[in-house]
């Protein structure tokens, strides 16, 4: 559960208040990869930590994933790939998020991502990459850190300028 400051304009009136809000997290499987055990375990671990998790199911295109993130008003997006196509699919998703004015969404990834591929994914705006052997405690610590940075109104979305990344 996080608290967010909300300011809205309606009929030329400005209303500001603070409301409790669970984090909404989309877990997505881009591309033709059919291995979703890892994605399901992560979704379950985030659910057990009190977040609202939307799982997309298998074989989604980056366009479909961005549509899901938009409709669900998600705060975070987790991408899972074990097929080797992360080098194309992850940056493409970040790019489409930016084009859809969703630069504030915090993007993280997981699966089989070789060490030498990771820097370019961070450069594309991703804030964390988790490989095999990652514990659910570590995933939860990452999300907690994201949550507290968001509450301090730090800009850590995939399309926002910020050097922070998990584990750096």
């Amino acid at each position: 559960m996080t608290y967010s400051r909300v300011a809205i304009h309606f009929n030329e009136r400005l209303c500001v208040w603070v409301m409790p809000k669970p984090l909404r997290i989309v877990i997505a499987k881009p591309g033709l990869d059919g291995h979703d055990r890892g994605a399901k375990v992560v979704a379950r671990c985030l659910r057990d930590a009190g977040h609202e998790v939307i799982y997309t199911g298998l074989r989604r295109t980056p366009e479909q994933i961005v549509r899901t993130v938009m409709d669900e008003d998600a705060d975070l997006l987790g991408l899972s790939s074990l097929s080797g196509a992360h080098g194309h699919l992850f940056p493409r998703t970040c790019q489409l998020l930016a084009e859809a004015d969703l630069t504030h969404v915090v993007v993280f990834g997981g699966g089989i991502i070789p060490e030498e591929d990771r820097q370019s994914l961070f450069d594309a705006g991703m804030r964390a990459i988790f490989g095999p052997g990652t514990t659910s405690e570590e995933i939860n610590s990452f999300v907690d850190e994201v949550s507290s940075r968001l509450q301090q109104e730090e800009s850590i979305g995939s399309g926002e300028e910020n050097d922070w990344r998990w584990g750096a």
Binding site: I8, V53, I54
Partner: protein, 278 residues
Amino acid sequence: MELDEAIEGSRLALSRALTLVENGLSFSTEEDGMVIGVTGAPGVGKSCLVDRIATSLAKDGIKVAILAVDPSSPVSGGALLGDRIRMQSADVDDLIYMRSLATRGESGAVPSVIGNMTNLLKECGWKHIIVETVGSGQAEFKIAAVADTILLVEAPGRGDSIQAEKAGIIELVDLIAVNKSDLPQAEAAASDIEQALSAGSKDIPVMLVSAQTGDGVSELVQKILETEGQSMTRPKWREKLNSEWMRQLNSHPDLESMLDGLEEGSLNLDEAINNLRR
């Protein structure tokens, strides 16, 4: 964040505005619309069927918004919302908007914020709204408080004909779809339900459909649309009134002080109720 932008048609602004409403902002509207409630037991195929219905409406150029509810964990408060897995048309069709919702600790198969969310959607031009409840049993009536038309989804192999004789949600519904018509027992299930209903006073159509193959879906959609404007029965008004009464009670400015009084013993229950009625 601009509510006005949502009303002007921005999908992104609509999403954010829905979040505000989901978190407690109240919203009312003068706009007309049609809220279709879809309910039924877990596993009967509600999500798949909703996807088919939405696709069929969109094919006729009708914009349709879907609010799909899944349960929150009573332990952690978190939720795993999986309806999108079966509603993939929402990811490609601009005429379909789909939002997953968690119950957030409320019972009754639909959270009470849904009414405000449907109001916002109507205001933003989404006149046809499908609300899918969590998989529910016989006694979850709260869908009647938000839906104009209620579709009960059934499936073969869910018990004998006495199930359809029991009192409950079946008395509030406008239509019954027996899903999985591609399975052998479907026709027998449909005729069991029809026989049970034939003793009642209300004429409720029972239709065979298959969300798997798409058979019967366009006929079902036609029937749903035909109920527009004539489905508000007395029991549904009762549920709406109940629900609005509860909402007003729970948002009454003096509620906390009345509870304080009751706790301290300075008020009795009758006095508290009379004060809240004023």
